[in-house]
């Protein structure tokens, strides 16, 4: 009788066949968030100075073996038959090295987590390595209150100066700032991700030069197996814990997608993912030279020269320059929002 009851129970199974499961992509994202949450858990214990000192000591105990382990993994990956056979990070750096002519890269970035979740950034980047020119055009669409708004910001960098232009009320002005110090690099920074923080090809190249990128394996994306490079979870400031993940094409070694995970704000990790939509070389001629000139791109705008900032040290210059640039961008965005609200 008991056999009958069990057979009857088995026959009443509401799920007689095994269901299909989701692709592992969503799971991978959850795991990455979980890793971020674990890091946050570690950071929460750093309340007192004693704990901080202990943490600093312990961090080296963790970081040193991790580095050794990473190196071993790197060696194994590069030497085994299933590995890349080449230094993928270096190959990606070489692939994105500006050669003769101009490089044009187009990214589409999306914010998945954080206060700007749902926002998109369409970014175009032009680099002329011979003349040391660079122009970046960011078209940001994101939630502002009840509406989605689009804001365009352009930056042009040349030896000795940088220029900015933004849509909206500031569209008639190109702000030009002179840089007196030689060898000063302008970086939008890599800490505290926002839509402003995505720096495309340049960001990867900078992190590689600083020895912060490493190969950690591969990831499938749209049916393609791509090499996965990841930066160390540190930023320029001691409080930064942002990581950059780059998925690299196994044949061309060009970055297919970038993912940034920022866990600086406890409980509120931010994740931005950007896809490389196109990457091409343009010839150097009269027409392409105009790409770097904002006065040509925006003929109606007048140039407003800003006094050159005076800095005491190169490190101070870098920090203040970056901060000044960020403030300038934020101010332009704020003014445009105010102008839109005023119109309403």
């Amino acid at each position: 009788m008991s056999i009958d009851s069990m057979a009857r129970l088995a026959a009443a199974d509401p799920v007689p066949e095994l269901p299909a499961v989701e692709s592992p992509e969503r799971l991978r994202r959850l795991i990455e968030d979980d890793a971020a949450a674990i890091d946050l858990g570690e950071r929460r214990h750093r309340s007192s100075s004693t704990n901080r000192r202990l943490w600093m000591r312990r961090r080296w105990l963790v970081v040193a073996p991790s580095c050794v382990a990473m190196s071993v993994v790197g060696v194994v990956l590069s030497s085994s038959s299933s590995g890349p056979g080449v230094d993928v990070a270096a190959a990606a750096y070489a692939a994105t090295s500006p050669q003769q002519g101009i490089v044009e890269a187009v990214f589409l970035a999306r914010v998945f987590k954080g206060s700007q979740a749902g926002g998109t950034l369409h970014q175009r980047e032009w680099i002329d390595s011979t003349e040391k020119l660079r122009r970046q055009q960011d078209s940001t669409t994101g939630p502002y209150g009840d509406t989605h708004e689009t804001h365009v910001l352009e930056m042009a960098f040349a030896p000795g100066r940088w220029e900015t232009w933004s849509s909206g009320r500031e569209a008639r002005v190109i702000t030009r700032t002179k840089i007196r110090a030689a060898g000063l690099e302008i970086s939008m920074g890599f800490g505290g991700i926002s839509m402003d923080g995505v720096n495309g090809i340049e960001l990867y190249r900078k992190l590689y030069r600083e020895g912060l990128m490493r190969l950690i394996g591969h990831e499938s994306r749209a049916g393609r197996s791509l090499w996965k490079l990841e930066s160390l979870p540190i930023g320029y400031a001691s409080t930064d814990h942002t990581r950059l993940i780059i998925l690299v094409d196994p044949k061309t070694f060009l970055p297919v997608a970038e993912r940034q995970i920022d866990i600086a704000l406890p409980g509120h990790p931010t994740m931005v993912e950007s896809d490389l939509v196109s990457y091409r070389h343009l010839p150097t001629d009269e027409a392409t030279a105009k790409l770097f000139d904002l006065t040509v791109q925006h003929p109606g705008a007048r140039v407003l020269a800003r006094p050159s900032p005076r800095f005491r040290s190169l490190r101070g210059q870098q920090t203040r320059l970056t901060r000044s640039l960020r403030e300038q961008r934020n101010l332009a965005i704020r003014r445009e929002r105010e102008s839109l609200e005023h119109k309403r």
Partner: protein, 186 residues
């Protein structure tokens, strides 16, 4: 790679377990949560991982159920405050959250069997379902329920007897009800 293989091999079985016990809309979230736990505690996963994974799924479902009950209780309290202290607040919402295993009964097409299972304790019912639906051995079911294999065997014996008894009682009740309805004037 080992983790991906684990997911590919046992993901469906875990999802089926969840679908038998919870609403379909929750299944993917619960499965993802189970494998996040698995990733976090990968070193603890035994060589035969399915019972361990089902044990995690059981706890995740239980936590979710508790969270849902707390949320509804909070809604009730807020409704009480909004309605004023003198008015009666709705409390039947809390009763709508199924106890562990009751969702499985709601999904069953055989009402007599569902009624007989409802007469068992939650522990007995879960053990029977793990063996009948998940196809586990008593020892594997013991891993899921976090009890000793010997305890599981004794509990299984008792549960089978009780289910048989409950089924015959349900059958006799049904016969009585049918004869009463036939005797009743139209």
């Amino acid at each position: 790679l080992r983790f991906e293989l684990l997911y590919a091999k046992h993901g469906s079985a875990v999802k089926a377990y969840v679908l038998r016990r919870a609403h379909a809309s929750l299944a993917d979230d619960v499965v993802a949560e189970v494998f996040v736990v698995c990733w976090r505690r990968f070193e603890e996963v035994p060589p035969e991982p399915l019972p361990w994974l089902l044990g995690v799924a059981r706890r995740v479902l239980s936590t979710q159920r508790r969270g849902e009950r707390r949320r509804i209780a909070l809604c009730d309290r807020l409704a009480e405050v909004a309605a004023g202290a003198n008015e009666q607040a709705p409390t039947d919402l809390l009763a709508s959250v199924p106890e562990a295993g009751y969702q499985a009964l709601a999904n069953m097409a055989d009402p007599t069997l569902a009624a007989a299972l409802a007469r068992l304790s939650e522990a007995e019912r879960e053990l029977l379902l793990l063996i009948a639906w998940e196809g586990l051995t008593p020892a594997e079911a013991a891993t899921v329920l976090d009890i000793k294999p010997a305890t599981a065997r004794v509990r299984l014996l008792r549960a089978r007897r009780r289910l048989t008894r409950a089924l015959s009682r349900e059958r006799s009740d049904l016969t009585t009800r049918q004869s009463l309805s036939m005797e009743a004037p139209s």
